[in-house]
Symmetry: C2
Subunit: 245 residues, 2 copies
């Protein structure tokens, strides 16, 4: 697994420490503990603990030096685009600021991905988009939760772009979408998935209409972004923590 699930002790510690770090649990008055103390705290051997710390170091969260200890890196050094890091941040410390910033990324990227998908995606990739749309419509009719198919739709578009960096973003988009859409639900009440808006995108991509796909996607995400800004300025309570999956 690429993700840090709870399969073994090391990954459990990575998860626990990662969450604690991005939640701001460590600071000047509560510095990051030394190895020995963390071993005691988690009941783990030095080997395991050091491996966990090294994984967090690889994600830009920590840094270490002999005698100086191990410390939390400044936030600018964190690999925000690492799926684990972004997930920890969004699940434990969701903020309108972060949602807005990620919304801006989506607004920059997804319309271009849709345009590329329209222009160059192979038949199967386009089919995956159509399938996600169909499931979304189905969920809408049955008044099921549209979230999974909504997410699947956006990921399918990113993947269909054929751009590896965009595909890569699907990993982090998944977390962000989950939080964003939950916010929309709470703000607008029971969610009616905007099937027609998504259908416009899908139709344009299937028809090979790059411009149309780009504009339709931009409109959709612009709306989501505006909702975030509106909820923020209206002072709607910050999006709540989410249960771990």
């Amino acid at each position: 697994m690429a993700r840090s699930d709870g399969q073994n002790l090391t990954y459990r510690i990575v998860q626990a420490l990662g969450v604690a770090i991005v939640s701001g649990a460590y600071s000047a008055k509560n510095p990051f503990p030394i190895e020995a103390d963390l071993c005691k705290q988690y009941g783990a051997s030095r080997s395991v603990l050091r491996e966990a710390v090294k994984m967090l170091t690889a994600k830009g969260l920590l840094s270490a030096r002999p005698r100086q200890g191990t410390w939390v890196q400044p936030e600018e050094a964190w690999n925000l685009l690492d799926p684990d890091v972004l997930r920890w941040l969004l699940e434990r410390k969701p903020s309108y600021a972060l949602l807005r910033e990620f919304g801006q990324v989506r607004l920059a990227v997804e319309p271009k991905a849709a345009a590329l998908a329209a222009a160059v995606a192979p038949r199967e990739a386009k089919a995956a988009i159509a399938t996600a749309l169909e499931q979304m419509a189905q969920a809408d009719r049955d008044e099921d939760d549209p979230l999974p198919s909504d997410i699947a739709f956006h990921l399918a578009v990113l993947r269909a772009s054929g751009n590896r960096f965009y595909s890569q973003l699907s990993g982090v988009t998944e977390s962000a979408l989950r939080i964003s859409i939950r916010l929309q639900n709470r703000y607008k009440g029971v969610r009616r998935a905007s099937v027609p808006d998504h259908k416009k995108i899908s139709d344009a991509i299937l028809a090979g209409d790059a411009d149309g796909a780009e504009q339709a996607t931009r409109a959709l995400i612009q709306e989501a972004l505006e909702l975030i800004n509106k909820a923020d300025s209206d002072g709607v309570s910050e999006p709540r923590k989410v249960r771990r999956s």
Copy 2:
């Protein structure tokens, strides 16, 4: 250090293995070695070697299971947006495909970053952009290498956007820009830094003209991207490996 420089044994092994992995050194006929063999190969203890492997696992390059061994993840799982991973890829295995894909990312992101910078950047951040432009002009006059100031300019714009994800991208943009601009040099002959094009961007940002900044940036990157495509279809030799910094 967030980057894997050669400070200690673990990081040297991370670097060596990371490069080997992204270069495709391991495959079905040459599977990733078991711990014991890697220890011998690098003359390191199991602790050090395991910590290095864990760091590469955190970057999505490796995965491991008891009895099954450690193996290289499929390329889709690699954290392409990890600065180390992208640097290894671009330095060791630069391809037009990857440069084009990263160019598409820049084309999506940088114009929006410039627009944001024009709209919201504080005075110091704008000043940093102006300074980079000035150094670029200076280098141009003195026929010095314009590369460092060119890079500094783009990073300053990304940072001035105030969007943490865009700032984050500056880490990976640095590697990609270095390769891209080298390519332009070889293709167009001695490079004359396009100071006027960058000045347009800087002026618009300083004037708070978001649309102007966006369009000027788009034009600049579009040109760079077209050059990559042109060099590719003209069959110009693939960009060469770069010495390690």
